[in-house]
């Protein structure tokens, strides 16, 4: 019996290639291509009054210099609003190259194409752009205040305003026994993939066709966008995602200006052109996320049951809104986590600032929502003097409530309806894992040693695997090797392994014989992309569906050849045999030969399929009516709604009583993403996610000064945690299958990141004994908070004494 591959921690087959330097990333391609560099705005807000390129032409090796003036009509249009929404009343997007105005530092103004990147940068350095600077809006508070506007025709800076309400929140608040108001802040961070963006395009003049490669999360999206702006039929353009060194969301926004300009220049020049983003460019021209101000008003009873939850969110969307309002919508909906408040209202404003655009970053609005909810849970517990897990339990949605409809609309325009999950069971696992009930004793012992320790918790629910669809294509070659393609892309998650496991099981072949290609429009032109923890759910089920089609066809052909009933056949390790009579068998490779009647014998295997081989019934057409040659099949998966994964994290931290340095002593994760295709990969995703979450909670921030300059636009000062900063992560899993898809799986890609800021705020608060309302937090800031508390305490002591 073949052992099933799904559910096993199969080693990732992409790793040997990737960790030995044999990956093939964008900048590994096109060695001889011309290189592009960009002159970018040094100002956060300015009018362009002139561009002088004369000096730049002096540099030997310059091939082209483009400004907005050079763009044709299609290219000169503003970039698309990818995800329109009725509440997004004032969408604004940038131009491929700025015309009269720039709205953030880093906006591209001039494109230089030259022999190599060095020359391109030398020339770019000689271009003089004259600006008249305008006052800038930096930070969401300034945007909300609206003393100044980013876009003249949007004087209040409000791109979108949306209210969703379930029940009568005002009435419920009015009659709540207890009420609390909690102001919260989350700062900007960013995806920071190790590989920046990059585009390489080759125009074939004779064939009038384009081949392009982009370090993207959606090659089909890039292909469609470029086709539209360059006026090229889809049939004449192909886009491939090579190995991609991380995405985390920033490479799902598209087309980036460079993704249009590079192929456009390649066509104009008739030469291959490449652009590989450098780190500085990435900081100032790729997307950021996370910044929000929030105000929570909560009404609850003596048990801590939430009767009314009223949340206001001011969301910083940066200078433009190409990706719509997906992020604040996710905050507003996923904030609810595993809980069912009596009534709920969330009102958000998505606001313009003169800073880099905001698009989804791993977690995508959820970390902020979970921060609001979990800080509220802790505040209620503190107010009532109850255990924090007890207050959470009181508010849980229970297994018998599933499917649970919140009555809200989710980011995919569909109802926010949880499919499955067992939150009390998850909490029980987490409490056992971290030793929740023993912590008091541990703290007492630590305090006796002069140490400060704290325990924190955070819970979340994550809608994963949003539609509209993904597709899979499976082809069994006459060698018996199975080639699988899915259109969504890979950024190192392990798709080559996980999808091969699925196809191996569904088809009945060895895992080693299955080979997976992702993100290549030549192999699968219908796809959406890798984001929203959707790859396993969407493409996993799509390749399973495709494998089923192939399996059926194989059984049909084999049944003919073996003169058996297809229902009596089974496939194991690539051999089809009659159940109970294993000697009556035919290999899948032979079936592949038979599936494709041939005129020519290219090799020995092909001989059997040629016209004089006597294999085929002379009275029938070689390919039966309605059939197709080849042992291959396609399948698509398109769900009615997202499937909801969940998890709970707990951490123990130690804060230095004098230096306020924060150390994570333990970090525990209980995670439920339904059926796990490959537990090792899930574990890896959780680990990476927690690492990124730790970055967002304790290290990373975008330090903009008041003039809109990013002060820490390098890895020297933007502090991505090293291995030395990431704690050992202890995990436990619950597998509550999703009833929504055949494989029962839910997404796992973002899970680790989502609650980390909430968890660490909770733990630091527990150690310090005062509320933590703003994240990230540094030792310097924690020290400052202590000082403020101490001086406030001293002050109230004196005023008390005065009385």
């Amino acid at each position: 019996m073949t052992t099933r591959s799904i559910g096993h921690s199969v080693q990732r087959r992409e790793d040997p290639r990737l960790v030995t330097g044999n990956g093939r990333y964008l900048d590994d391609l096109g060695r001889d291509a011309l290189a592009a560099a960009f002159v970018r705005s040094p100002h956060a807000h300015a009018t362009i009054t002139g561009i002088d390129i004369t000096d730049a032409w002096e540099v030997d090796g310059v091939e082209a210099i483009y400004t907005f003036e050079d763009l044709d009509e299609l290219m000169a249009r503003p970039l698309p609003v990818l995800i329109p929404h009725p509440a997004l009343t004032h969408p604004r997007t940038c131009l491929a190259l700025a015309d009269t105005e720039v709205n953030h530092v880093g906006e591209p103004v001039v494109m230089v194409v030259a022999r190599d990147r060095y020359v391109a940068e030398d020339a770019a350095a000689r271009i003089v752009v004259s600006y008249e600077t305008k006052p800038v809006v930096v930070g969401v508070a300034a945007a909300r205040e609206a003393a100044l506007a980013v876009h003249d025709d949007v004087p209040d800076n409000v791109a979108a305003h949306l209210i969703q309400e379930v029940g009568d929140v005002d009435a419920a608040l009015a009659c709540s026994p207890h009420r609390l108001t909690i102001p919260l802040t989350i700062e900007r961070s960013a995806c920071m993939p190790m590989e920046g963006k990059g585009v390489y395009a080759v125009w074939d003049r004779d064939d009038a066709s384009m081949r392009m490669w982009s370090s993207t999360q959606t090659s089909t999206g890039v292909r469609a966008a470029v086709a539209a702006r360059l006026g090229i039929p889809l049939a004449r353009i192909q886009c491939m995602a090579p190995d991609v060194g991380g995405g985390f969301g920033v490479k799902i926004n598209h087309p980036w200006p460079e993704e249009l300009l590079v192929p456009w220049a390649a066509r104009a020049l008739g030469r291959p052109v490449k652009w590989a983003e450098d780190r500085r460019e990435h900081f100032v021209s790729s997307a950021h996320e996370r910044q929000q101000l929030q105000e929570v008003e909560v009404g609850f009873d003596d048990d801590g049951r939430i009767l009314a939850l009223d949340v206001k969110v001011w969301h910083d969307n940066g200078a433009y809104t190409p990706y719509g309002i997906i992020v604040p919508i996710i905050t507003a909906t996923q904030l609810l986590g595993p809980y069912k408040p009596g009534t709920y209202r969330c009102e958000f404003w998505s606001l313009y600032t003169n800073t880099v655009i905001v698009t989804p970053y791993r977690g995508a609005g959820r970390p902020q929502g979970v921060f609001a909810m979990e800080r509220t849970m802790d505040a209620i517990a503190a107010f009532l003097g109850k255990d924090r897990t007890e207050v959470r339990s009181t508010n849980f949605i229970l297994p018998q409530d599933m499917p649970y409809d919140h009555g809200l609309m989710f980011q995919d325009g569909r109802p926010l309806k949880y499919d499955s999950g067992d939150f009390p069971a998850s909490l029980a696992k987490l409490k056992a894992l971290v030793g929740w009930d023993d912590f008091a004793a541990y703290r007492e012992q630590a305090e006796a040693e002069g140490r400060k320790v704290g325990l924190g918790i955070g819970c979340y629910v994550e809608g994963t695997g949003v539609g509209p669809y993904e597709g899979g294509h499976v082809h069994v070659e006459t060698s018996g090797q199975v080639f699988v393609a899915t259109g969504l892309t890979s950024q190192g998650q392990g798709h080559e392994t996980a999808f091969a496991q699925i196809v191996a099981d569904e088809l009945g072949v060895r895992f080693e014989d299955v080979h997976v290609t992702t993100g290549d429009t030549r192999r699968m032109p219908y796809a959406v992309g890798t984001f929203a923890s959707r790859a396993a759910v969407m493409s996993g089920n799509a390749v399973a569906a495709a494998a089923k089609v192939v399996r059926e066809k194989a059984l049909r052909i084999a049944a003919d050849a073996l003169e058996a009933n297809p229902d009596d056949l089974e496939i194991e390790d690539g051999v089809i045999s009659v159940k109970g009579a294993p000697d009556t068998q035919i290999s899948l490779s032979t079936v592949a030969v038979l599936s494709n009647p041939l005129r020519y014998a290219f090799d020995d295997a092909a001989k059997a399929a040629t016209q004089f081989a006597g294999t085929f019934d002379p009275d029938k057409p070689p390919v039966a009516e309605g059939d197709e040659p080849g042992l291959e099949g396609k399948g698509f998966y398109s769900p009615t709604q997202a499937t909801f994964a969940n998890g709970m994290h707990a951490a123990i931290v130690e804060t230095d009583p004098v230096t306020a340095e924060i150390r994570i002593l333990r970090y525990c994760v209980v995670h439920d993403c339904g059926v796990m295709i490959n537990p090792l990969i899930v574990e890896g995703q959780v680990h990476g996610g927690v690492a990124q979450g730790v970055g967002g909670a304790l290290y990373e921030r975008m330090a903009y000064d008041e003039s809109g300059q990013l002060l820490n636009a390098s890895f020297m000062d933007f502090l991505v945690p090293y291995a030395s900063e990431v704690p050992f992560i202890e995990t436990d899993h619950l597998e509550t299958p999703s009833p929504l898809n055949p494989l029962g799986i839910k997404g796992a890609g973002e899970a680790g990141t989502i609650p980390v800021s909430a968890v660490l705020a909770s733990a630091i608060e527990d150690a310090e004994g005062f509320p933590i309302l703003s994240m990230p937090i540094s030792p310097s800031e924690l020290w400052e908070l202590r000082r403020q508390r101490a001086s406030a305490a001293a002050h109230s002591a004196t005023t008390e004494g005065d009385r």
């Binding site: 921030r701 020297m716 502090l719 945690p721 090293y722 030395s724 900063e725």
Partner: protein, 287 residues
């Protein structure tokens, strides 16, 4: 992030190097491990027309331990010095501080002399140079001169080295027998430039403190020595209440705020670090 064009010189001897430097003068830069200079060039924060690459100079890759000094050649990488057992026993402070310099990959390439020539106020080794009374050996076409570390550092990234001079070696002074040292710093991430750091030397003669000095990282514009001997002289090292040095440290340092830490925090931090460093040094050798 590509450097502006430059001419790359590869002198094969110190004479050739200084001759080239004399020629290109202010338009040239010495290139050692490149761990500080290359990023600056790539970001086009500087664009010298000439780089005088000293990586092929013979004889500059040696660590020599003398009776009163450890001499470190211009091409000795941080990692090499850190691994040098003789240097470690002659002057433990070197290893104590080097372990805080960046990460292995950077220590494999970056030179200890380069970090002193670079004179970053956040660098560990300038402060070690000052506390050990190091001597900087500088060569030029005019000959060789020796500069005391205390005269070498002028300001952040500024030294008294002339544009046509190259540092061929640094001689770190060894402490008298019985001196205990410690190095402590607090960085946002392991291996980062510190928010604050301190090197301390505690002299113990006949079982009592005879000398207590400190120099700092990131909290003074240039590294200089704070002599704390008066506060603790004659005390048994294990019994000293090191909070007595707090006021002197607070008065000595002059930290600046940046995006990672406020000035007040840095001051509080370095006061605590200094106490802990002295306490650690005092514990040393106490069973």
């Amino acid at each position: 992030m590509k450097p502006a064009p430059f001419v790359h010189h590869e002198p094969r001897s110190v004479e050739e190097a200084v001759a080239t430097l004399a020629e290109v003068g202010h338009d040239g830069k010495v290139l050692a491990g490149g761990q500080s200079l290359i990023p600056v060039l790539n970001m086009r924060l500087a664009s010298p027309n000439h780089l005088v690459d000293i990586n092929r100079l013979p004889g500059c890759d040696r660590v020599e331990v003398g009776d009163d000094h450890v001499r470190v050649g211009a091409l000795v990488r941080h990692a090499q010095l850190l691994a040098d057992a003789r240097a470690a026993s002659a002057l433990p402070l070197l290893g104590q501080a080097l372990a805080c310099v960046a990460h292995p990959a950077i220590r494999n390439r970056g030179t200890t002399v380069g970090s002193i020539a670079h004179a970053d106020a956040a660098g560990e080794m300038p402060s070690v140079a000052v506390l050990t009374g190091a001597v900087i050996e500088a060569a030029s076409v005019r000959g060789t001169r020796e500069i005391a570390a205390t005269d070498f550092f002028e300001g952040p990234l500024e030294t008294t080295l002339e544009a046509d001079e190259v540092v061929v070696a640094v001689r770190f002074g060894r402490f008298p027998t019985g001196t205990r040292t410690a190095f402590l710093e607090a960085a946002r991430r392991h291996g980062d430039y510190a928010m604050a750091g301190v090197a301390v030397a505690l002299g113990v003669t006949d079982g009592v403190v005879s000398d207590a000095r400190a120099s700092f990282v990131s909290v003074t514009p240039v590294p200089d020595i704070l002599d704390l001997t008066e506060a603790v002289r004659g005390r048994e090292p294990g019994t000293v209440d090191w909070s007595t040095v707090a006021d002197a440290v607070a008065a000595h340092v002059d930290p600046e705020a940046d995006i990672h830490a406020s000035a007040d925090y840095r001051r509080a931090l370095v006061i605590e670090l200094t106490q802990r460093a002295f306490a650690a040094a005092a514990q040393e050798g106490v069973a």
